[in-house]
């Protein structure tokens, strides 16, 4: 796979890629609109600089790809929306084991938005390539199809499709934390009681975690359609597998938010309410 990427890379005329090529923001801003064939935008945009770059990329690129789960759904950093920005600043700059009484930096650094909003709130994307990270195969498929002008056919299967473990439709009697006991390497992890999001998660990864003993945590987001509520789907999946008293189930699932919404809280229904609340605070402030 690496060698194939080496075949593709020299075919590209790279116009901006800060980790690889020494072009500056001014260079990117100076290109004519839509003059770049394809752009990949990585990460969630939370600072004014990020949001500016995202918008410039949209202007300059004919095809803009949301690259990776942060770019598609807000990703793991979207979990910062579980807290207020002041709580975040406290842990980072003010009171922690090695900081005491620091102040939030303001000089020559871009302001940080109160909440993580999904990139789709700022621009429209033409293609979504989720994953944390997207696999080399997925990148190669995307780049090759764009170079050849062919449609991108991505298989719609869930992670379970790629999992070699056997399912026996066994209901879960007890939810186990992943360090407990020794899992049977041949049996479905979920049916053994370990929460696994494989059945609700897009299987573009082809199942590396589940086939090496680790439960799926949903890093490729929902099976298509891309903006389906992954967290809600995962919770109802668990409800189907674990026919126990709701109170008992709630007591056994230690961290529902961080388990079911780990990669896509910002684009979920619940996460939307959280963002809306912040927007309303701002409106009240303006009134």
């Amino acid at each position: 796979m690496h060698l194939k990427l080496a075949d593709v890379l020299p075919l590209l005329d790279i116009k901006y890629w800060q980790a690889v090529v020494d072009f500056k923001l001014k260079d990117l801003e100076g290109y004519p609109d839509k003059s770049i064939a394809v752009g990949f935008y990585e990460g969630m945009a939370r600072t004014e600089e990020d949001i500016h770059l995202l918008k410039v990329m949209r202007e300059k690129c004919s095809t803009l790809i949301a690259f990776g789960s942060c770019s598609c759904f807000g990703g793991i950093p979207g979990m910062a929306n579980f807290s207020t920005i002041e709580e975040c600043y406290d842990a980072k700059f003010r009171h922690n084991k090695t900081v005491n009484g620091g102040e939030v930096p303001t000089k020559n650094v871009p302001p940080i938005a109160e909440v993580v909003k999904p990139n789709t709130d700022y621009v429209e994307f033409d293609v979504y390539l989720p994953g944390c990270p997207p696999t080399s195969k997925l990148i190669l498929t995307a780049v090759t199809s764009l170079l050849e002008g062919k449609p991108m056919d991505l298989p719609p299967h869930a992670v379970c499709h790629y999992c070699k473990r056997e399912k026996k439709e066994t209901p879960i009697s007890e939810v186990l934390r992943p360090y407990v006991g020794q899992a049977d390497p041949k049996r479905c992890l979920l049916e053994q009681g370990y929460i696994c999001l494989g059945s609700c998660t897009w299987g573009l990864c082809e199942g590396p975690c589940v086939n090496k003993g680790a439960t799926c945590r949903g890093c490729f987001g929902p099976v298509p359609p891309i903006m389906r509520d992954h967290g809600a789907a995962s919770i109802s999946m668990l409800g189907t597998y674990a026919p126990m008293e709701p109170d008992k189930l709630v007591a056994q699932v230690k961290d529902p938010l961080g388990t079911f919404y780990r990669f896509d809280y910002a684009t979920s229904h619940l996460g939307r309410i959280r963002i809306k609340r912040e927007d309303m605070k701002k409106e009240e402030h303006h009134d």
């Binding site: 923001l25 102040e103 930096p105």
Partner: protein, 438 residues
């Protein structure tokens, strides 16, 4: 109204993150201030609170796409320290294999993709050719050896960690997965070619060092403290005690990771979201230190493997110990690349590496606090969590490798800026003809 002139370089490229430089020049081009502005932060320390401890090794690696393995392992070590869990010896060997494979691929990526373009095409070549895509195009043989090393490291990470980027198999009490005999045999068979490619990299690095010796010995030679893990004097990236060397080369501290708050200060600058870690007893900014390859090579009495030891000796003959030469970081990276390759060979040859007794069954959470430390490619990576009796995180402090270096980067940039703007030093530097002309 001042006549100060501001130079803003935005973004700093070949950086795995967001950064810009702001340089302020006063009358007569006197350099008044140099800032390294890191304009992004995601608040991991906040949103890890409330997560079950065993999930943190699966979340924290997302801090970095280049060095997720060190985060995965520092994190699981911190959880195990808090819960008083000791994983089986074979699990430790697998973890070592994982981190050495990462060290191998990261150092190769850094040398060939991030650093080499400036040296082989010359620092003033046009950006459109001064990059790794051009290395692939104009130096296909070199590119193939580079890719083979990276591929070895990344694919081996995947066999052990399930995913090369953001591995998932380390869990409190051991590993969820062992290496099969088939996998082990496949990698052992590939080792001779790996060592050959690593030797070619050493040769290329020495050519570059010789050609750029004037730059190495004159630009950004910046005395600082150094911090890094050392295992009884031997360079070890998985385990050991934390050592601090002062700018004169005297070892001023050697302590257990759990005692880090006595020695590590965290300065919050007004111009960067990345904080500056420094040697607390010396205060800030006097105690600014650097981590990463050169720091580890300065601190180590010796390397863990013979070829790496020979490479270290050769490096020290040229730049001394301690070396304050910022550009010698590249050289030290190659010394460590050799150690990573040799360590991988040694681990693969150990029969325990395919042992299946890699996970405890009886792990129980308890309230407490744990610190886990490993060396990431860019420096000492520390995770510190507190949890309640159900094993839910109540506090998290994470010191990533880069934060040890940002204070030192500003110091060395100040030296470089003075050379360029105050002494017009660029013109006086002896630069070689580019190795490749485009």
């Amino acid at each position: 109204m001042t006549n100060d002139k501001t130079i803003r370089i935005e973004p700093v490229t070949r950086l795995e993150g967001h950064g810009a430089l702001t340089i302020t020049l006063g009358a007569g081009n006197k350099v008044k201030d140099v800032q390294f502005n890191i304009g992004s932060t995601r608040f991991f320390e906040r949103f890890l609170v409330g997560r079950p401890m065993e999930e943190v090794p699966r979340i924290a690696p997302r801090i970095c796409g280049i060095c997720p393995e060190p985060h995965h392992l520092a994190s699981v070590k911190a959880v195990e320290a808090a819960w008083g869990v000791k994983p089986p010896p074979a699990a430790i060997k697998l973890r070592r294999l994982l981190i050495e494979s990462k060290q191998l691929s990261s150092h190769a990526i850094h040398f060939y993709a991030l650093a080499a373009p400036d040296f082989v095409f010359g620092p003033f070549a046009d950006p459109s050719v001064r990059n790794v895509a051009a290395v692939l195009k104009y130096m296909p043989d070199v590119a193939v050896q580079a890719i083979k090393i990276m591929e070895f490291g990344q694919e081996l990470c995947r066999d052990v960690g399930a995913k090369a980027i953001h591995p998932v198999t380390a869990i409190p009490g051991g590993m969820l997965n062992s290496l099969t005999e088939e996998e082990r045999d496949k990698w052992l068979k590939a080792v001779p070619q790996l060592l050959e490619n690593v030797q070619k990299t050493v040769d290329l690095a020495k050519t570059v060092v010789k050609a750029y010796i004037d730059v190495i010995t004159k630009v950004a030679v910046t005395p600082t403290y150094y911090v890094g893990l050392s295992n009884k004097g031997v360079l070890d990236i998985y385990d050991g005690t934390i050592h601090v060397m002062d700018p004169n080369g005297t070892m001023v501290a050697d302590f257990e990771p759990k005692d880090y708050t006595k020695y590590w200060g965290e300065h919050v600058p007004d111009h960067s979201y990345a904080t500056h870690i420094y040697y607390k007893p010396a205060g800030y900014p006097d105690g600014i230190w650097r981590a990463n390859t050169l720091a580890r090579c300065n601190i180590a009495e010796k390397m863990a493997t013979p070829l790496a030891q020979a490479a270290l000796k050769e490096m020290r003959d040229l730049v001394g110990r301690p070396s304050h030469h910022t550009f010698a970081y590249h050289y030290a990276r190659i010394v460590e690349l050799v150690q990573a390759a040799e360590s991988i060979k040694k681990l693969l040859e150990d029969p325990d590496i395919v042992c299946t007794d890699v996970k405890l069954s009886d792990v129980t959470p308890r309230a407490g606090e744990g610190v886990g430390v490993v060396e990431a490619p860019r420096g000492t990576c520390l995770h510190n969590y507190e949890c309640d009796d159900e094993g839910i995180v109540t506090k998290a402090n994470i010191i990533v490798a880069t934060n040890h270096n940002v204070g030192g980067i500003e110091k060395s940039l100040m030296d470089a800026a003075r050379l360029i703007f105050e002494q017009d030093g660029l013109k006086k530097l002896r630069l070689p003809e580019p190795l490749v002309k485009t």
